[in-house]
Symmetry: C2
């Protein structure tokens, strides 16, 4: 019996170790207390309780993460757009933290693979992706404080997704902008799309964008359209910089 | 001309020094960059611009402060009420950060005395009090970061105003609770109210609450009712503790 218990204990530790490593990869720094992250991926259907008898699932962490995300985005927009008034800042923030956008963020990180639940995860609606993304932010706040929370949001929300020009509706699609530019400048272009699956079983697409037969940018995303858009945006900024340097 | 300029410069510095001291008194620590606080009390009617031509008034800081206040209160409630679910936490937070409550907080600190405006401040509606209170929080965040923001909110919002039992509607008034208790225990009570004005010209009331001719608690607030309520709450906690110790 004792041996069985030890085997069980070791296998749990291994599992915890894998989870620890994967969380570290996602958040970009070492967690201090892994318990917060375990809670962030525990669904209410498990009926888990802490030692005081309080429900142990991600719902309260979601509330906390939502508040932290709003604060970090508010501070980012405040600094980034000094010309934007209160109305503009409020509107921009709600675009960034929209339910749809948060679901996309959670889905792209494939957070659902960590969810512990009594109900098959396929039965959850779309919002589960955004909810656990927010819960993860809540866990980071409790574990490491505001500054790390801000670090994570910069890495996983602001850098890859927040593009002020696009949010303002000034740029609808970088792909169409780039195609237009190529046609005007009489340059050939080619989007080379290929499957690029990660080790986690999530379906990814890779794109190489060539202009005049020279690879200009690469991108990877969960849909062909998104990967093409990302590659176009990167190419656009490369050219923008080149033009700025010439002037 | 040079002498005049110097006199002017000195008188501005003195003014800035007084402002610096008063802000330090209110926030409870030394500001690093006084400019943020000056902005927090500048009304749009002044039409002030920064050196880049962007409007310099408190409206954008109000947006930032609102976000930080929401985040700090969320974290406080998360830790303070481990039994409260997401719905409970959301409801409690909106009670604490309600427009009415924020106006009360700003009014009690008499923040309006700092407002620089082309319009007489009497012409502003009630919301000015809450708005500049939020702007002050935004200024603290920019000047000193999240942790100081949290410190200030604990000192000026949570400690003096946030009473979970009262917010939950379990206690409507500590004064009536205390009177009821005195009658049940056959004790005499007396609220001794007196004027207690500060140096800043704001009208304050002081209260000494005696039970069986012994002063049990004291309080100071901007209305008689508030001062009596505060004193009653303090007395209530004194007795609560005595009863807990006996048990």
């Amino acid at each position: 019996m004792k041996i069985l218990k030890n085997i069980f204990k070791n296998s749990r530790s291994n599992e915890d170790g894998i989870f620890f490593g994967e969380i570290q990869n996602i958040i970009g720094f070492k967690p201090s207390s892994i318990q917060y992250y375990q809670k962030a991926f525990t669904h209410r259907s498990t009926n888990k309780m802490d030692f005081k008898g309080n429900p142990m699932n991600y719902e309260r962490l979601e509330f906390l993460g939502d508040a932290m995300l709003s604060a970090v985005i508010a501070a980012y927009l405040y600094n980034q757009v000094p010309t934007g008034d209160e109305g503009y800042l409020t509107k921009m923030r709600s675009k960034i933290v929209s339910r749809e956008h948060l679901n996309e963020l959670g889905r792209d990180l494939n957070l659902i693979r960590f969810v512990e639940s009594k109900v098959p995860t396929q039965h959850f609606g779309e919002n589960i992706h955004g909810n656990i993304f927010e819960a993860l932010i809540g866990a980071i706040f409790l574990d490491k404080g505001y500054d790390y929370c801000q670090k994570f949001i910069h890495k996983c929300v602001i850098i890859p997704y927040v593009d002020i020009a696009k949010l303002e509706g000034k740029v609808i699609s970088y792909k169409s902008l780039l195609i237009e530019w190529c046609q005007k400048e009489k340059k050939s272009f080619n989007y080379d799309v290929f499957d690029d699956n990660g080790i986690d079983g999530q379906k990814y697409f890779g794109v190489k964008l060539s202009i005049d037969n020279k690879v200009i940018s690469k991108a990877r995303a969960t849909s062909k359209k998104k990967a093409e858009e990302k590659a176009s945006q990167r190419a656009y900024f490369v050219f923008q910089e080149m033009i700025d340097h010439k002037q």
